[in-house]
């Protein structure tokens, strides 16, 4: 291929990446703007909006709700997802393709429709909106993604180790906890992290499901946006990006470091 064409493709790619990251970078920078407005111009460097943020009780409460909700969602979705993925990877049975489609189907239902459906069903059952509804809803939204992620990771685990353990006299339960589960840990971890992020980030369905007065971080930000972007939102954005990007990156780096040292 001619070098000029290649340079053109490269420039195009760089521009697309710029498009994807420039606005995010702007949020990160503006979080440290000392101006009393959320936008430009930048008047100086300051931590004042982080201080303000830590004093904002509504946001702290929303953050706590989001973290608890995300953690519970991760537990439920990962448990269900791993069991289902084990069935798909380890067994061949009739109707497997159909079952796979059913497991992935919730992704293809528009989230707005999914939200309204569950809400109407609960209304018919006379169950009011609650944290529990949010938890069930978030779990079902995260489940297909967990199944896909875990399934992809599980396929890579060789059966030989389990068969060796069995032939050395371990019973199925011992084999599972001594051999299979430790080998599955990265898959479990990836699935749980994914489920947490999906829950932590969800707003479309959450707006329908949350009980009045309960806010998650996204709905809280959404509520604060009505007039303009306040500088506190920039600071909150900074904190959220540090959590949701920093934690997986560090986990990945740690895993790599750990693997290298144990080899």
């Amino acid at each position: 291929m001619k070098l000029r064409v290649w340079t053109l493709l490269k420039t195009y790619t760089v521009l697309v990446y710029f498009f994807m990251f420039a606005p995010i970078a702007v949020v990160l920078v503006l979080a440290f703007n000392s101006s009393q407005f959320g936008g430009f111009p930048i008047e100086g460097f300051s931590f004042r909006w982080f201080v303000k943020l830590s004093e904002n009780e509504a946001i702290i409460r929303a953050l706590r709700t989001s973290v608890i909700l995300g953690a519970c969602t991760a537990v439920i979705a990962t448990t269900l997802g791993i069991l289902a993925a084990l069935a798909l990877v380890r067994y061949s049975f009739r109707g497997k393709d159909l079952i796979t489609t059913v497991l992935i189907a919730p992704v293809l239902v528009p989230e707005t429709v999914l939200a309204v459906g569950l809400l109407i069903f609960m209304r018919w059952l006379h169950v009011p909106r609650s944290f529990g509804l949010l938890l069930l809803g978030h779990s079902i939204i995260a489940l297909p993604f967990v199944v896909l992620v875990v399934q992809a990771r599980l396929t890579g685990i060789r059966r030989d180790y389990e068969e060796a353990a069995r032939s050395l006299g371990a019973n199925p339960l011992q084999t599972f906890f001594a051999v299979t589960f430790p080998l599955m840990l990265p898959a479990v971890f990836a699935g749980a992290l994914f489920a947490f992020t999906i829950s932590f980030d969800n707003i479309t369905a959450t707006i329908f499901w949350r009980p009045s007065g309960m806010e998650t971080v996204p709905t809280q930000i959404f509520g604060m946006l009505r007039n303009s972007v306040s500088p506190e939102i920039n600071a909150l954005g900074f904190v959220m990006i540090c959590i949701t990007v920093g934690v997986p990156l560090m986990a990945g780096a740690l895993a790599r470091y750990y693997m290298r040292n144990t080899k």
Binding site: V16, V109, G117, F121, T204
Partner: protein
């Protein structure tokens, strides 16, 4: 775990049952309830009557307001999908074909947006196009205008917001299918006398279509089902069908109408998914996770 070749084995079904029960209870049955509720009659705010009447459906079928919303939704979804495909194909191709040592970095950067809050990514455009945004700041600094230009809260910013959020889905799907192409095919075509452009058009492009189609389906369905982005980045006339559902359920507390509109949206987008799965099968969609 012991052998798995028996045709009647209960273990996989035991493992699958919690997920299947959850999906049945939380997705399948609720979808049926949407349909049932669409025949109910709305009496007052949040008060409805069990009924079997077609009032809601005939309103959706005859009121031009709903037709406008359907048209707007399809139009915007097509625009976003096409633009995302055009913007996304070349980076996907570049990542797949580059011999660049730090290819993993490009891939990592591609996955990074999935970890960043949707609402933060969406509102970040207010910092670009808003009255106090980067563009207005730049224009004023250059002395092009005195007062801030109003660039925000129109269809353009809604489209930009959607593309920004959904582009990684598109690039990832195209990349996955480009990555799966045998690297010898294009050189083979070249040896047989094809120009680089011909080799791409006749060999690589057709082979990458499944990924492109999967990306398009995802972007189309995700855009068509949205309502939050227009609320944040759009003006009063930039609403999608999802916004009508939001208004019916959250603002007007008209549950039967909300149900009717939801089922309509499910049918419209479901149709797209069915056509796609007939043509391509649903397997391609899961490939991006491997």
């Amino acid at each position: 775990m012991p052998s798995n070749d028996q045709s009647i084995d209960k273990r996989p079904w035991l493992l699958l049952s919690p997920s299947l029960v959850a999906i049945t209870l939380l997705v399948v049955i609720p979808m049926a309830f949407i349909l049932v509720y669409s025949f109910y009659e709305n009496l007052d705010l949040a008060v409805d009557k069990v009924a079997f009447q077609f009032g809601n459906w005939s309103e959706v079928a005859t009121d031009g307001y709903y037709h406008t919303a359907i048209w707007k939704t399809l139009r915007l979804s097509v625009i976003v999908t096409v633009l995302a495909a055009v913007l996304g194909y070349i980076p996907a191709y570049f990542i797949a074909m580059t011999k660049f040592r730090d290819k993993w970095l490009l891939l990592l950067l591609l996955i990074l947006p999935f970890w960043i809050s949707f609402i933060i990514r969406t509102l970040s455009w207010i910092h670009i196009f808003g009255n106090q945004g980067a563009l207005n700041g730049l224009f004023q600094m250059l002395g092009l205008t005195d007062a801030p230009l109003s660039l925000m809260y129109n269809e353009f910013t809604v489209i930009v917001g959607f593309i920004h959020v959904f582009l990684p889905y598109m690039i990832l799907n195209i990349y996955v299918s480009l990555e799966g192409i045998d690297g010898n095919l294009e050189p083979a075509a070249r040896t047989l006398g094809a120009t680089p452009w011909q080799a791409f058009r006749e060999v690589t492009l057709p082979l990458s279509l499944p990924g492109l189609a999967a990306g398009c389906l995802l972007v189309f369905v995700l855009t068509g089902g949205s309502y939050v982005t227009p609320l944040i980045l759009g003006g009063p006339s930039d609403f999608l069908f999802g916004n009508l559902i939001y208004d019916a359920i959250v603002t007007e507390l008209n549950w039967p109408m909300g149900a009717t509109l939801s089922f309509t949206l499910l049918l419209l987008l479901g149709l797209v998914v069915v056509v796609y799965s007939r043509l391509m099968g649903l397997n391609q969609l899961s490939k991006a996770f491997k």
